[in-house]
């Protein structure tokens, strides 16, 4: 187990290196220049040149890249061109809302998906099953932004139960924090609920007629225990992978949801920084998101090995 963990940890390094090269190239090869944006429409070429030199953008790109990489190893992601604050600080200020949103929608997803899947498998030969299949398909195919606007109009404007926008930090009260996040978290969760519930249902249905479940039933074990102990736990293994991917995928979803609900999180920061060509922040945020992705995948792999002992001996 230890060897496996170490091996997986070491494999992170090349992944992150490749990500950083790609991010750097995409950001710097995209047309647009922060100097023009800062100085505006009436700027003179001399002023542009001076600002570029000040921002270090006049150096050869290879040098800029190595400067950046070198600093990353000392934990310094550089300084925002727009606010002159350190990038790590800028990101940390925005992490709260995004993580709140992700956690909340993940919790919603699991709370709804798992019981639904179990219930459907329990009542497997009824009309419930095709109903569930189509519902989950609808859930997974609804465009997030459309669903978000629909919910805002329905539950925010027409029947004003929930706030249509905004974010309140948890420090200002748990309830208001929770209240402001319900709608956006539910929108984010909608897609994932369908996906995970279906995955779980398929896995459970597969296990439901296996020899070991038949044996268990033949022994006289109650159906509920068969379902939970033998069927559910076996179906959990492939579902864990999907959940892992989902958590990472939520990060992408937050970009849209944060814009629609004006939540000042990582997603909005990324979009704003792209518009402003704030290179250090774009690079920092993408690297941060990549790191989260990699770490979650690592955790899933380790969890997998924990849940299924066969994988460790690969």
């Amino acid at each position: 187990m230890l060897q496996y963990t170490v091996r997986r940890l070491v494999s992170i390094i090349p992944v992150m290196l490749i990500v950083s090269v790609i991010v750097f190239l995409i950001v710097h090869l995209t047309p647009g220049n922060p100097a023009y944006l800062i100085l505006g429409e009436d700027s003179s070429p001399e002023a542009i040149e001076q600002l570029e030199a000040q921002l270090g953008l006049d150096k050869p790109m290879v040098m800029q890249f190595f400067d950046w990489i070198k600093n990353i190893f000392t934990g310094d992601l550089g300084q925002s061109i727009y606010s002159s604050e350190p990038v790590t600080q800028v990101i940390m200020e925005r992490v709260g809302p995004t993580f709140s949103l992700m956690m909340m929608s993940m919790a919603l997803t699991l709370l709804i998906a798992i019981p639904t899947a179990i219930f459907v498998v329990w009542r497997r030969n009824t009309v419930l099953d095709p109903l569930f299949t189509s519902a989950s398909l609808v859930g997974a195919s609804i465009p997030e932004f459309w669903f978000a606007m629909l919910l805002v109009l329905g539950l925010g404007v027409a029947i004003p139960i929930f706030p249509v926008a905004g974010y309140v930090p948890i420090a200002e009260g748990f309830f208001t924090w929770f209240y402001h996040l319900i709608l956006p978290a539910f929108v984010l969760a909608a897609v994932e609920i369908g996906l995970i519930a279906r995955m779980l249902r398929d896995g459970m249905l597969e296990a439901v007629n296996q020899d070991y479940t038949k044996t268990a039933r033949a022994k006289g074990v109650k159906e509920s225990i068969v379902l939970m102990k033998h069927v559910f736990s076996n179906a959990l293994i492939p579902t864990t992978t999907v959940i892992g991917v989902t958590v990472a995928g939520l990060l992408g979803g937050t970009v849209i949801i944060e814009t629609i609900f004006t939540i000042p999180g990582i997603g909005q920061l990324l979009i704003d920084s792209i518009h402003r060509r704030d290179y250090p922040v774009i690079q920092g945020v993408v690297l941060f998101i990549a790191a989260i992705y990699v770490v979650i995948n690592l955790l899933v792999d380790l969890l997998y090995a924990f849940l299924d002992p066969r994988i460790r001996y690969d």
Partner: protein, 537 residues
């Protein structure tokens, strides 16, 4: 010719209709107020509360001196004040200054300050602070750097008097001191010296305005609170950026909201009280809702600027052909739709800017004539090379103008390609004439001929315009002595643009904001100002 007359007639008709419309509106409003007792009561100012403003763009800085950006200005003028400021008719009136005199040779300006004007940090404004602020303005402000060339010395006479000596007669000096763009804000001496050329940081945002800076969470909100020791002027009718200012709100929150639909929903449900920059397309939605009041104000105009450094538009006749090819009425209608949101006027300034507006010299603004365009184009060296119209697709407005232009230009024999870019890319591409032949863009309201960005000679913003005639007009503007003389110069400026076509004006734009009906009194003017206004309940 016939066509032109009809257009002029139509234009005159439109203008009259517009004026009648305005007249009626104000008449009914005042009637309503007089008759309705409950409304009268609502006009009683209410002190306190938080004003939540949905603000469409997060400014780079709140230092109103260091940038001309509108987002900076609209927050900045709640915190900072200038020596002189524009009133509601765009005329310079004293603000922090008490009065001023100009010597007989027009080179020495003696400015006295009002007594006991408080800064937010508790100190009072002295001549020293003003001089340090002027020194900073001369190096960081785009307006100040121009004025700097005329300033010989700035001297303290006593605690409340300063004397500015110019090296030559420069009568645009007062308008520079007043300009609400990269403005001459008065800040404490230590801060002005400490900041130097770098924009003021949060702790340095100390001004004399009715609201003071409280907190800024970038990307989320900017919070201002009422300045209790504000030294108000007494003049009630001045409006604009001067006169008596009363801060009724305890707190103003500028909340960064990007999506107009969110703004409207937020206003309907009471999350916001005011929202900025609503697309004109949504006017009907806004108007039909009784809880939302539209707020409109002038906002510069849209232009098409040809690149005059290269063929084909280096040839004046091709530019003339372009002007004849464009039916601006059709373009404006297709772009802005509702006629409340545009105005066909060919002048360099808005009719509301009475000091700067001249209706003379704009004869060819609506000279749409396809046949003439074809003739001119045929006689020129232009041989169907593709013309690239570049615009920023962040704005629906300039996209539509470009699309209609393409169609109209192709009708007379131009070959046209549309080149849309996202704003950041667009700005970079703009700098190189090889990337474009025409740019379509909007310019916000300007307050002096030297501020007209699309006419600053030999820059990308003017499309490399180079004209002795325009240059000498700017010079004579600087030394003009009387209002009549200035009117003559303005007419001649319009005429020059009309003759040389450095850019083609499309239409004056009107901006749409929305406010909650709980804000009974709000004075529409350029940009948002939240003093002398309050929230009922």
């Amino acid at each position: 010719m016939q066509n032109k007359k009809i257009h002029q007639l139509l234009f005159a008709l439109l203008l009259t209709l517009f004026l009648i419309g305005c007249g009626n509106q104000s008449a009914t409003e005042s009637e309503g107020n007089g008759e309705d007792g409950s409304e009268q009561q609502a006009l009683e100012p209410v002190q306190g509360g938080t004003l939540n403003v949905a603000f469409s763009s997060d400014p780079d800085t709140i230092d109103w001196m260091s940038t001309g950006a509108t987002a900076t200005r609209d927050v900045g003028w709640h915190i900072f004040e200038t020596l002189f400021a524009l009133d509601k008719d765009y005329q310079a009136k004293p603000m922090i200054a008490e009065d001023y005199t100009v010597s007989d040779d027009q080179k020495v300006y003696t400015i006295t300050l009002r007594e006991g004007v408080n800064f937010h940090d508790g100190t009072t404004v002295t001549a020293e602070d003003v001089i340090a602020s002027i020194d900073r303005w001369r190096t960081v402000s785009s307006v100040g750097t121009v004025a700097n060339e005329y300033i010989e010395s700035v001297k303290e006479i006593d605690e409340r008097t300063i004397e500015i000596t110019l090296n030559q007669v420069y009568n645009a000096f007062m308008s520079d001191l007043t300009a609400p763009k990269s403005a001459l804000i008065i800040i404490p001496k230590e801060i002005a010296e400490e900041a130097g050329e770098t924009p003021l940081v949060a702790e340095q945002l100390i001004g004399t305005g009715p609201y003071q800076f409280e907190n800024w969470e970038r990307g989320n909100e900017i919070v201002l609170t009422r300045f209790e020791d504000y030294s108000a002027r007494e003049e009630e009718g001045w409006g604009g950026l001067t006169g008596k200012k009363v801060a009724y709100f305890d707190e103003i929150k500028f909340l960064i909201v990007k999506d107009p639909q969110v703004m409207i929903n937020g206003l309907k449900t009471g999350i916001y009280d005011y929202a900025q920059s609503i697309p004109q397309d949504l006017y009907e939605v806004v108007e039909s809702d009784p809880s939302i009041d539209p707020v409109t104000y002038i906002n510069g105009y849209s232009v098409a600027t040809p690149d005059k450094s290269e063929a084909p538009f280096d040839d004046l006749n091709v530019r003339k052909a372009l002007n004849y090819a464009l039916d601006k009425e059709v373009i404006a209608e297709a772009t802005y739709g509702n006629s409340d949101f545009y105005q066909l006027d060919g002048a360099l300034f808005d009719p509301e800017q009475t000091e700067l507006y001249s209706d003379q010299g704009t004869d060819d603004y609506l000279a749409y004539d396809k046949e003439k365009a074809k003739e001119l184009l045929e006689a020129s060296d232009y041989n169907g090379e593709p013309i690239e119209i570049m615009f920023s697709n962040d704005s629906e407005t300039y996209k539509r103008i470009s699309q209609v232009m393409k169609q109209q230009m192709e009708e007379v024999g131009f070959t046209v390609e549309l080149v849309p870019y996202e704003w950041a890319t667009y700005l970079e591409k703009w700098a190189d004439p090889a990337n474009w032949d025409i740019v379509v863009v909007g310019w916000s309201t300007r307050f002096s001929p030297s501020e007209l960005g699309m006419l600053i000679m030999d820059t990308q913003s003017s499309g490399w315009y180079n004209s002795e005639r325009w240059g000498s007009l700017l010079d004579s503007w600087g030394v003009a002595e009387s209002a009549e003389e200035r009117q003559e110069i303005l007419a001649e400026m319009n005429q020059t643009v009309n003759d040389e076509l450095p850019f083609l004006k499309i239409a004056n734009e009107t901006k749409l904001d929305i406010k909650s009906d709980k804000i009974p009194e709000y004075d529409n003017w350029v940009g948002q100002r939240f003093w002398n206004t309050w929230k009922s309940e």
